[in-house]
Each structure stands twice: as structure tokens, then as C-alpha cells.
Amino acid sequence: MSAFFEVTNLGVRIGDTAIVSNLNIGFREGEVTALLGHNGSGKSTLLKILARQLSPSTGEASLLGHSFRDTGAREFARIVGYLPQHPPGTDGLTVRELVALGRYPWRGPLGRYTDEDHQLIDQAIEDTGLSRFRHRSVDTLSGGERQRAWIAMLLAQKTRCLLLDEPISALDVKHQVETLRLVHRLAEERDLTVIVVLHDVDLAARFCDRLVALREGQSIADGTPQEVMTSDTLETIYGVPMGVMERAPGQWVSYVH
């Protein structure tokens, strides 16, 4: 399988501080990857680079073998969808209107919405379980529902890849699990590549195929949950002594000593 994203010699500087330096990493198609690391480790920055929200100071990023520089804005948006960490208030938009905006990369400023577009929009709402909220204002939804509405917009975008920046950090445990389960299911059904920044290493290990840990802009651990979920590796990632138990196959519990 060829690399979906390929990042070589990546460096990002903001002012005088190097956030990421000399990072080489690739992401395969159809893989669900979690980016781990403590605050300030550069994981959100890496995600923003992949979403083309930031441009690298040095190095090269490419999508499906083409450099980011050669890809048009809407062309890129048809392949990669990005959910920022704090989506803004939507000022009265209903769920369906929000989701419909996901068709912009395909239809542009003037193109008419066809039946197919409307089908995709309804399908996205259906898939995220928001049918009942279709005509509700997004601002009046609860945190978990609002998060799903934004994910639905990304689905309507019909991309092959989702980049999610801490999608569950503001949710309670029930909604955290529901959101990740939803992402996991969608990734399988629609054969999506997903890269998600997460804080909770147990949930990450549970729902992702691959864990990548960053510290000071360097990749310090990279592998399947099986490989990463050891007390030594976790200690390197978070800098505190940690232990891990495998309660059942594929279900780890980590704890601080």
C-alpha cells in the first residue's frame, strides 16, 4: 500500500521556537492513526501541517505522492477534511445547512446542488445519527451532538481522509466513547484514512490501528497498540512512571504509579 501522506524532513518554527524539527513520517491509506503526546509536543502542529492550515518552515509534505504545493485548494479539500479543535459558534445555522456546506469543495461558489449532493448530505446526517436534529440550530445542541454535526459536515465533504484535532476533549465519557466508536465505524464503512489527536491513551489504543507519539517535535514511538502499550514506552511518552494491564485482548488500562 502506498503512503497517503508523506512528510520528509519537516520543520516548523513559530517565532524563534522550533515546534517540530526534522520529522519523517508516513501515513498509509485506510489506517486509523492516533497522535499522542503531552501538551506542546507538536501533535496538533503536525495535524495542521497535514491539513495545510500551516505551511512547513522547512521540509516537504506530500499527498498521494504529489507535493502539497502543486494541489489546488478545492482539489485538496475533496481529499482531506479537517475538524479544528474548537469549531466556532455557527450563529443560527441548522444542522442540515451546516452539513450542506461540506459540498462546497465539489460545487464551488456557483455550481448547483444536484440530487446526488442532497443524498450525500442526508446520508451523512443519517450516518451520524442526527436525523432527528436535522432542522435544529447547531448552537442549541449539546456538546456531543454538535461534535457529530461537524463530523457529518466532513462526511458530506466525501473526502478519503479525516483529520480530527482532539475531537473528544470537551465531552463526557459516554460521548467520548460514542464519538470514537462513530469515527471507527465510519472509517471501516467508508474506507477512510483517519488521523486523530487524542489525550486518552487507553481510548486511543482501543479504537486505533496505529499509535504515533511525539515529544518535542520528534517521533518517539510508532506502532500498533500492542507494541506501544508497554509501561516503558508510556513512560518515555508522558515522562511519568506508568504501568499497563491488558484486561482483555485489545483492551488496555494504563495507570500512573
Binding site: 492550515q53 485548494a73 477534511g81 479537517y82 466556532p88 436535522r134 435544529r136 465533504q157 460514542e178
Partner: protein, 675 residues
Amino acid sequence: MYAETRLATNTPGLPARLPLAAALLWLGALAASASPWLAELDPAALISAFWTYNSHDYTSVLAHFSWAPRVSVAILIGCGLGLAGAVTQQVLGNPLASPTTLGVEAGGQFGVTIATLFAPAVLAFSPDLAAVAGGLLAIFLVIALTWRLGFSPVTVILAGLVITFFMGALNMAFLLLKGEWLGNLFIWGAGSLVQNNWTPFMDLWPRVLVLALALVLLMRPLQLLQLGQASASSLGARVGMIRMLALFLVVLMSATVVSRVGVVAFVGLAAPVLARLLGARNLVERLVWSTLFGGGLLLLADTLAHWASTWGDGSLVPTGTTTALIGGPIILLALQSFRNTHHMPGQDASPTGFIPIRRPAVVIGSVLLTLLLATFIVSMGWSPGLQEWSWTPLSQWDDAWVWRGPRMLAAILAGVSLGLAGTLIQRMTGNVMASPEMLGISGGAALVMVLIVLSGAEVGRAGQLTAATVGAAGALGLLILLARRHRFAGTQLLLGGLALYVFMDSGLRLVMASGGTVASKLLNWMYGATWLISESEALALLSLILLISLCLFTVIRPLTILPLGDTSASSLGLPVGRARLALLLLAALLTASATVVIGPLSFVGLIAPHLARVLGQHTVGRQMMVAALAGGLLLAVADYLSRIVVYPGQLPAGLLAALVGGLYFLWGLSRHGRS
């Protein structure tokens, strides 16, 4: 898997009140506009006046060439400005944005003034060119200033407001220096829609239509902006370019209007606000209904202006005045309904990052006092003569005092009281960007005085001071009442101030348009002509300020406690209500006494407390003292400069203070973003 709840299953429809209100507005405006004509023409004939006329009937001719084009122009411009306002709000994600509040209209006017003076050929070639250049300059300044602050809504409006004041002050400076060339700009600048044929309308409609179509084509990209920069660009929209393009079109639209009929303020703000308040939800609805409301509002305002002109003594009442009268209440209405989600710059500036080193008050105080003394000596002694600069010998100071003393004393006192009032207000509201000028408190004082001038009554200084105090107290009280719910957070206070300023401005325009001696007197006073002060008045002011300063000693401690919050303050044994009232009265009195001397538009009340802070004074008492000295020094220098800059002519000291103060404020604003 997900909780089942009972919910509406239909698309939320248009609230019925929206079309109802629009229909009422249009019908009311049309009926009001047509009613004087219906006595002489039957309705069918009146309607046909839009395309034909009966050459044997004078009324019919008049209707065809005067009434019908005026109505058409009002509707056209109103619709255009309404649309432009709605687009501006969408682009900046800011419920207060509009061509007026961003300074575009003031910029356009400034451009035309400059062109009239220095390059009249440009105006003959195309009046739009100068206005567009001025408008672009204004919006460029606003954007450049707020770039680093990430376009935070209130900051953008603050910057726009200051640019408006600043360009207004520049306009005035030119007007006072070259009045003979610019007389007509008075009426023109106030937005008059009087027509005598169809040419202006025919000239205007293709431009407005093309611009409107271009804006409508941008609809879908504009919609994406609602999702925030990150999401919009991840959907493939070029956010920067969309913003740029949309704002450019808005500037074109406003400048086209400004260059033809002058500043028609606040239609671009009032129409979208009204549409939003009545329940226009998404962008399409907002654009459509703002356009409709804009047309209706301007027609109504224009009709009112027309009526006022006929009922009054025949002097022209420009439409700009009545739009401001309608715009003011709508802004106040909006004040009540917007959720307070915006932050004021300065309110969240973390104290740790922005507090300069503390310095001993005695040192700073004596440095300022020395400077003040030096200014006093230079101002009294060193002055330009007809041939050369010379020192007035000490023996002649007695004679010189009559000319140079009282005005300087009054200027210093005004500076002192503005410094004190500014500190009081900043401490009361807990907001370092608040000041008598920005919050419209000076505007309130000025409004009452403008009204007195309008009514033609003769009052002495004492009467003026009382009236101004009432105005200032009224304004401040109103603000506190309105903002109480929101704990004096930025948007509400600022909007209130804006509304008051609008009222004052409209009164002023009215006086200007009527022309005559009253206008020039008022103009001089508005921009702080200190030469109007007599010795006894200055001395009376001195004793008043000294008295108030004594009172201030008793409020230092309450003022330290109040920002801790009502609960903490009252549990410390402070009668919160009474303390607030006392502070309010003191601040109003101080503002009023300064406004009587220096006019409402100097930025001293904003700058002096800020300077005191920068100079390292953080406790209430010290900040007040140093702010008072700094304010006095600023205006003393301004007064001296106003005497010598265009010698043997004079400029009002307040105008100079406003120009310098505006620059300082803009600098401070851009500095704020870096911390």
C-alpha cells in the same frame, strides 16, 4: 444508540413578523412620502409620475422631476447600503460591523475633501475615485491595526470608531483652515437626497446593481466564513481572498453612495441589525431582508427629513440627520438583545504580561509638574511676533496674562478633569479602554449643549455647565443601566457610546446645514476653542476642580474595592449602591466641566490614565494624581501649539489634542495585540 427526543421535524420557517415588519415599514414609508402629494394628485397619477408627467400640470411635473427620483434614489441607496452592511457583518463575523462603524464613510468623505482642495480635476473626472480611495484608506487602516488581534469584533469597531473620529477631525481642520472652499461640503457631507431630475438616479442604478450582483455571487463562499477560518479553508475556500474581495465591493458600494449624496450614516448598520433581531437566521435571509429593510428605512428617514424641512423655517434638514436619529435607537435596541460573547481588548490582557514596573509617584509627579511649569513659562513668554519669535519680558506678563493666561489655565483644568474622569471611569468599569470620549459621556454632555444652541436660548457658562453635567450624568446613567446585566463588558458599553455619539453627531449636522454664525460658533466650541474663555470663568473652573479633587480623596478606597465585585464590596461594608452613585456623579461633573472648555472629542480622558499606567502608577490614588497632571500637561501643550502652529491664525486646542490623541490610541491598540 442515541437518545430519542421529540423535536420539530420541519425546516424552521421564516418568522411571520419579518415580512410583516418589512411590509409595514415600506407601506408606512411610501404612504408618508406620498401623503403631501395626494392632496393635489390622485394615486394613479402619482404612481405614473415615476415614468411620465403631464406637461400642463405643474404638480405633475414637480412630482416627476422631484418627488419620484428622490424616492427612487432613497430606495436604491438604502437597499445598497443594507446589503453592504449585511455582507460586512458576515465577512467580519461581527454584529456591529457596517460601512459606518468601519470608518469607510468617513474615509470617503475625507477623500472628497482632499480632492476638492488639492485636485479638483479628479472630482470632475469621476467623483467616485476620490471617495473610493478614501474609503479604502480607512478600511486599510482599520485592518492593518487589528490584523494581529485576529479581527476581534470589538477591537475592529473600536479602531473603526477612532478612524472615524480621526478623519472627522482632519476634515474639520481643513474646514477651519480653508473654510471658503469647503462651505458646500457641509450640506453635502450631511447626506442630502434632494433631486431635481432623473440623471443622478440613472447614473447610480447600474453601479449599485452591478455591485449588488457581484456581492450576491459571493454568497456561498461568504457562507463558509461562518465556520471559522480553519474549517472554511479546509473546505477549499481562499478565506483571505474572499474577505478582501467582499470588503472591496462593500467599499465600492459605500463610496459610490458617499461620493454622490454624502454620508448616509447607519442605514448599513441598522438594516442588518433589524433583520437579525426580527429573526432572519441564515445568510440568504439576512442579505435579502437587510436589503429590503435598508430601502424602507432610508425612504422613511428621507421622508422625515423632507417633512422637517417643510415644517421648519425652510432651512434644509439633511437626510443624514434623520438616519442617525433612527439609527441611534436601533443600536440601543440591539444592545439589549445581543449575547455578550465578545471580549473587549484590554479586559483580558493578563495583568502579569502588561504591567510596567512600578515607579515612585513623587518622582513621576514632580517630573510632570516641572514639565507643566516649563510649558507654562514658554507659553506665557516665548511667542511668534509678526517678524520673529521673541521673549515677552517678565514686566509685561501682566498684560500678556489677559490673552494667554485664562485659556491656558482653562485648558490645564480641562486636562486635569478629563484625566481624573478617565481614571474614575476605567476603574469603575474595570476596562482600560473605557473613557469619557469612547463611551459617549462627553457626547451626552455635548448633545445637551447642541440642543441648547438649537433652541436659540442664551445661557451663561454656569448654565452651560449645569446643562452639560445633566447630559453627561444622563449618558453615564443610561450606560450603567444598560450595561449592568453584562457587568460593563465591552460590546454593550461601546455600543451605547456609539449610539450617543450618533445622536450628538446628527444634532451637529443639523446645525451645520442650517449655516450661519451659530454653526461656526458651535464648530469652534466642539473642537475646543480655548480662546472663548474669560478670566473669571477660568478662575471659577479652578475652584470647582479643586472642590471636586477634595471629594475625590474620599472615594479612593471605595474605588479600590468596587472592582472586586458587588458581593465582596458589600461584605467589606461598602454601601455599593450609594458609592456607585457618588462616583457616577463625580465622573459626570468632571467630564462636563472639561467638555464645556475643550469640546467632546479630545482623547485626553483615554490617554491620561493610560499614560499614568505606563508610567508605573497602579494604585487608584497615584494613578489619579499622575493622570490629572498628565492630562493637564497634554492640553497645556495643545493650547500653546494651537496658538502658534498657524500663527497669526488659530486652531482649536481640542482639535490638536484629538489628532495627537488619535495617533496615540491607534499606536496603543496595535501595541496591545503584541502582548
